[in-house]
């Protein structure tokens, strides 16, 4: 007898995380039209021609990664899903990657000349480092490849490979340039953080059930892959940022994000803390309005202790 086709029942969860992440992603849904990009037209005009070229190139590079994740990456994870709800979450992830890819074109059509953009898309097709990193990931997305290695590759794309690009709008924003564009990029960064977290979580759930030998194999694979990707990222970064003297600053950001990508998979850091000292202006641009309340080291400008709202027991009811 054939297995019946099964309808998804969201009231029978096998993994609570599926609903939690579904809710998070759907509440966070956005479209580029929501961001007033045209307010950046004047700011765009203050950038020097080489800075404009760099920015467009960085965004075409990001568009390529989003395209890969939308059309190949997220869909390739679906057959490996353990629950129907996981597949539904992946379909949301896939669609949001399409929204991200579409957003860069909104930025282009608002700020740039068609000729400049066409030139940058051509550049993205010809740049060996950009092509190499996308190909390295695609290798793992191939049908028939190891499902868990596919998840590792996916987390590295979501949580590491984007950051050589995300750096630049954060940098502009820290200098009060292209601030609306930065708002849009922060929405993308927020989404990618949930994607990397969720796929990494599913990876960890699967790894728990494996024997030591297989765990060691996957860990070796993950560290080897991030080394290979980092090697490409270094070259890609140097090619893009040497001209404005920011390569070393971007690299610290890469190390910091590589460590976070590994944490999403449940692994320890690869780069030592001194290699991860990201420019504080970039950190502040990443999480604006989130003051640094560090009571322990006293380094924050303040720490929160209640605006003394008396707590009633009912406050804690829900």
């Amino acid at each position: 007898m054939r297995n019946p086709l099964r309808a998804i029942n969201w009231n029978r969860l096998e993994d609570e995380k599926d609903l939690e992440v579904w809710n998070r992603l759907t509440v966070n849904f956005w479209l580029p039209e929501k961001v007033p990009l045209s307010n950046d037209i004047q700011s765009w005009a203050t950038l020097r021609p080489e800075e404009r070229e760099l920015t467009i190139r960085v965004f075409t590079g990001l568009t390529l990664l989003d395209t890969v994740q939308n059309t190949i990456g997220a869909p390739s994870l679906m057959p490996d899903a353990l629950t129907p709800h996981e597949e539904a979450v992946l379909s949301n992830i896939s669609f949001m990657e399409a929204v991200h890819a579409r957003s860069y074109s909104s930025i282009f059509s608002t700020l740039c000349l068609t000729k400049e953009v066409d030139e940058a898309f051509r550049w993205s097709e010809e740049n060996p480092h950009l092509q190499a990193k996308a190909r390295l990931i695609l290798e793992e997305y191939k049908a028939g490849s190891d499902p868990l290695k596919r998840k590792i590759a996916s987390v590295f794309l979501e949580s590491f490979l984007f950051y050589s690009g995300f750096y630049l709008p954060m940098y502009w924003s820290s200098r009060a340039k292209l601030t609306n564009t930065a708002d849009l990029i922060r929405l993308i960064i927020r989404d990618e953080a949930v994607h990397g977290y969720y796929i990494g979580y599913k990876f960890q759930r699967a790894v728990e059930k494996l024997d030591e030998a297989r765990r060691a194999e996957l860990k070796d694979f993950a560290f080897a892959l991030i080394f290979d990707l980092y090697d490409i990222e270094q070259k890609y970064t140097a090619e893009l940022y040497d001209g404005i003297g920011l390569t070393e600053d971007v690299k610290a950001f890469l190390h910091y994000n590589a460590n976070k990508a590994l944490q999403n998979l449940g692994y320890e850091a690869l780069f030592p803390p001194q290699a991860c000292e990201v420019n504080p202006a970039i950190m502040a641009a990443l999480s604006p309005d989130s003051e640094n309340h560090d009571f322990f080291s006293g380094s924050g400008s303040s720490y929160v202790i209640g605006k003394a709202v008396a707590t009633e027991d009912e406050d804690w009811d829900f």
Binding site: A269, S287, F296, S297, V304, D313, D317
Partner: protein, 138 residues
């Protein structure tokens, strides 16, 4: 030194942080069906953040349930919150919410499972914090 109570969801980031910290700590269970820890002495609470884009739902429900008990809530002395800077303004927001609700300081924030530096700072910070706490209570 005072106690440490923490929550960590199935992703285990905060649990990994606590394991590396090497201090004894009581875990708030993931399942509402399991028994809550009942601290007898003052403690610092450590929790991840689950906020959506608007900051709603920042404090995990099991942490709310834990703090909902006046006896347990009376013993909280500070909060350490985990999160991800990629969530922008809501980074580690649960710490701020709990600090305001319970009128205790937010002691520290870290990302995901924390770095070596975070571990060192929290270890030293807690030692110092409980030192001053004892002095003020004496």
């Amino acid at each position: 030194m005072g106690g440490l109570v923490y929550f960590s969801s199935a992703s285990g980031n905060t649990a990994r942080f606590v394991a590396r910290l090497g201090l004894s700590a009581a875990r708030i269970p993931i399942s509402p069906a399991d028994a809550m820890p009942e601290p007898a002495l003052p403690y610092v609470l450590m929790t991840p953040t689950f906020a959506d884009g608007e900051g709603r739902g920042a404090v995990p429900k099991q942490v709310i349930r834990f703090l909902n008990d006046p006896g347990r809530r009376a013993l909280i002395r500070g909060v350490i919150a985990a999160g991800n800077r990629n969530f922008g303004a809501t980074f580690a927001l649960s710490g701020r919410v709990i600090a305001e609700k319970c009128n205790v300081p937010q002691l520290y924030r870290f990302e995901l499972a924390g770095t070596e530096d975070d571990i060192a700072r929290v270890r030293a910070g807690l030692e110092k914090f409980w030192g001053t706490e004892c002095l003020t209570m004496a």
